[in-house]
Symmetry: C2
Subunit: 285 residues, 2 copies
C-alpha cells in the first residue's frame, strides 16, 4: 500500500529502503543557520526530530543510541574525567555521560545551537542534566574546537554526528582524527557513530583506514539495534590512542551506580561481538 500524507518518510536513496512514522501533527519547523529542523508528534514513537529530512531521534527508541554512544566508551577508558561530545546537540549523550561519577567536566560541542534549544523545548527528558555544574556547552565548529584543544587534555571524545555527507563529512576524515589524537591524553579514546553494518561496511572500513592513518592503533566496533535509522541496525566505532578498546572495566560496568534500559556489562560484551561477515570485512584493518 502507499503511505499517505499522515506519514513522515525518510527514504535511503542509495539502498532503496525507507522508514516511516505515522504523524499526529507537526510541532516545529525552522531553518536555522545550518539546517532545517522539524519536530513531529507521532502516534507511537512520541516526538520525532528530523534534520534536513533525516530522522535524528524519537522519544521511543533514543535510549539505545544514547546509552551505546556513551557507556561503552566510558567503561572502556580507565578513568574518564574529561569528556567531549562533538555534535550531540539533542543533549541525550551528554546526559548519559554525566551519569558517570568519574566525569569532572563534559563539553558538548555542537555546531547548531538551535538543535539544543529545540531539544530543550521538545525533548526535555534528554536535557535533565544540562544544568549539571560539570556540563559545558560550546556552539560552533567541532572540527576547529578539537583542532584548537590543548594537547593531551581530553580523556574521551564522542563523535555523535549526522551521516558522513554534508556538514559532518569532515568528522570522518584523517585531519580530524589527527586532531583528536593530539587532543587526547595518553590512553585516551574516541567513539564515533559508524552507520549500519548491513548497509555501510565500506564507511566502517574507511573509518578504520582513516583512524589508523591518523595514528590510532586500536579499533573496535559495537553493533546494536536502532529502529529509526536506515536498516534498523547501527554501529559505533571505538579507537584507542595507545590502548585496546576491546576490553573494558567489566566490574565497574556490572556495578554501575545508575539505571539503564539497554546498556549493561553483558550487553557491552555482546555489542562488541560481530557477525562473521563483519569480522571478516574488518580483519587485519
Amino acid at each position: 500500500m502507499a503511505l499517505d500524507k499522515t506519514w513522515f518518510s525518510e527514504p535511503c536513496a542509495e539502498f532503496g529502503s525507507a522508514f516511516s512514522l505515522k504523524i499526529k501533527e507537526k510541532l516545529h519547523d525552522e531553518t536555522s543557520e545550518y539546517q532545517r529542523i522539524e519536530v513531529y508528534d507521532t502516534v507511537y514513537f512520541g516526538k520525532l526530530m528530523v534534520i534536513d529530512g533525516y530522522v535524528m531521534l524519537t522519544d521511543k527508541d533514543n535510549f539505545i543510541y544514547h546509552e551505546m554512544m556513551s557507556h561503552p566508551a566510558l567503561y572502556t577508558h580507565s578513568n574518564p574525567e574529561k569528556v567531549v561530545i562533538v555534535g550531540g546537540g539533542d543533549c541525550g549523550t551528554l546526559q548519559e555521560v554525566l551519569r558517570h561519577e568519574n566525569v569532572k567536566k563534559a563539553w558538548q560541542v555542537e555546531i547548531d545551537e538551535r538543535v539544543t534549544r529545540v531539544a530543550e523545548e521538545h525533548f526535555p527528558d534528554l536535557c535533565l542534566a544540562n544544568n549539571d555544574p560539570r556540563a559545558n556547552f560550546f556552539f560552533g565548529d567541532g572540527i576547529k574546537w578539537i583542532e584548537e584543544a590543548a594537547e593531551a587534555s581530553i580523556d574521551v571524545i564522542i563523535v555523535d554526528s549526522t551521516d558522513p555527507i554534508g556538514p559532518a563529512e569532515g568528522l570522518f576524515a584523517v585531519p580530524f582524527y589527527r586532531s583528536c589524537l593530539k587532543a587526547l591524553k595518553p590512553n585516551g579514546i574516541i567513539v564515533q557513530q559508524s552507520e549500519s553494518p548491513l548497509y555501510h561496511m565500506e564507511i566502517i572500513k574507511g573509518m578504520y583506514t582513516a583512524m589508523r592513518e591518523a595514528g590510532f592503533s586500536n579499533m573496535a566496533t559495537l553493533q546494536f539495534p536502532q529502529c529509526v535509522y536506515p536498516s534498523g541496525w547501527w554501529s559505533a566505532t571505538l579507537a584507542g590512542k595507545d590502548s585496546s578498546v576491546a576490553q573494558f572495566r567489566n566490574f565497574a560496568a556490572k556495578n554501575k551506580p545508575f539505571q539503564s534500559k539497554f546498556y549493561s556489562e553483558e550487553m557491552h560484551q555482546s555489542a562488541l561481538t560481530l557477525p562473521p561477515y563483519v569480522k571478516e570485512a574488518l580483519e587485519g584493518m
Copy 2:
C-alpha cells in the same frame, strides 16, 4: 517526503511505523488457497517475497533470520537427529538445518505448497538442499501434524511462522505447545520466531506464559537485527522440554563444519544476552 508507487510499503498499523523498499518490478502475484503471494524485484535488496501485504524475506538480509532460526536451536540440543520446521515454506530454514551433520531427518511442514513453489522459482538459493535425501516435505496444517506426530519422536521443532494473527495464531497458543511437548523426545526443544523486542514484549511474555502452562520449564530468548521486519530488531524464543536452553554446545558451534554469515558461537552467546529492560520484563517467567 511521500513515497510514490515505485515503493512497496508495509505499514505496522499498531505501532505507526512502516518499512518500504524501492521496487523495480513485480515478478509474481497470485492468490493461493490460503493467501496472496507476491514477489518483487527491488533495487538493492534483490527479490522480495510478500504474503498478504507482509514482508516475508529478501535476498539481501534473509541470512540473518534463517541462520538464527536454526543454528542456535541445533547447537543447543545435544544431538538433533530429527528436526521439524512448522511453516518455513521458503525453505531457507530447512537449508540451514541440513548443514548439520547430526540431522538424519528434517521435515518442513508448511500449510501452503505455493509458497514453496514460488520460493523454488524466485529464491533458488534458499532451495539448494530441497533434494537432500534427509529433507521431507508435508504441505498441510502444522498444528494437526504436530498433534498427530508420534509421542517422543522429535528432537527439535522450529516454528518459522508469520505473525500471531490470522492463520498462525494457533501456533502461539497452549494447545499447540502441549502437542509440541508431547511430540518432543526427552531433552527436546522448540524454537519459535517471537517478534520484536521493541514492539512486542507483550507477545513474548504471552509466549513464556503459554509455554510454561503447556509444561515447558526452560525458556530463553535470542535477539538479532532483522532489517525488513517491524522495528528492524527481531527475536526467537527457545523452550526446553526438560533441559536448559540457555547453554549450548559451544565447542561444536565454534568448530562447525560449514560457513555462516551471521551465526557464530560468539554471536549465539551475544544473541542470548538481553538488554536490562527485556530481562526485567521476562524476569521470573
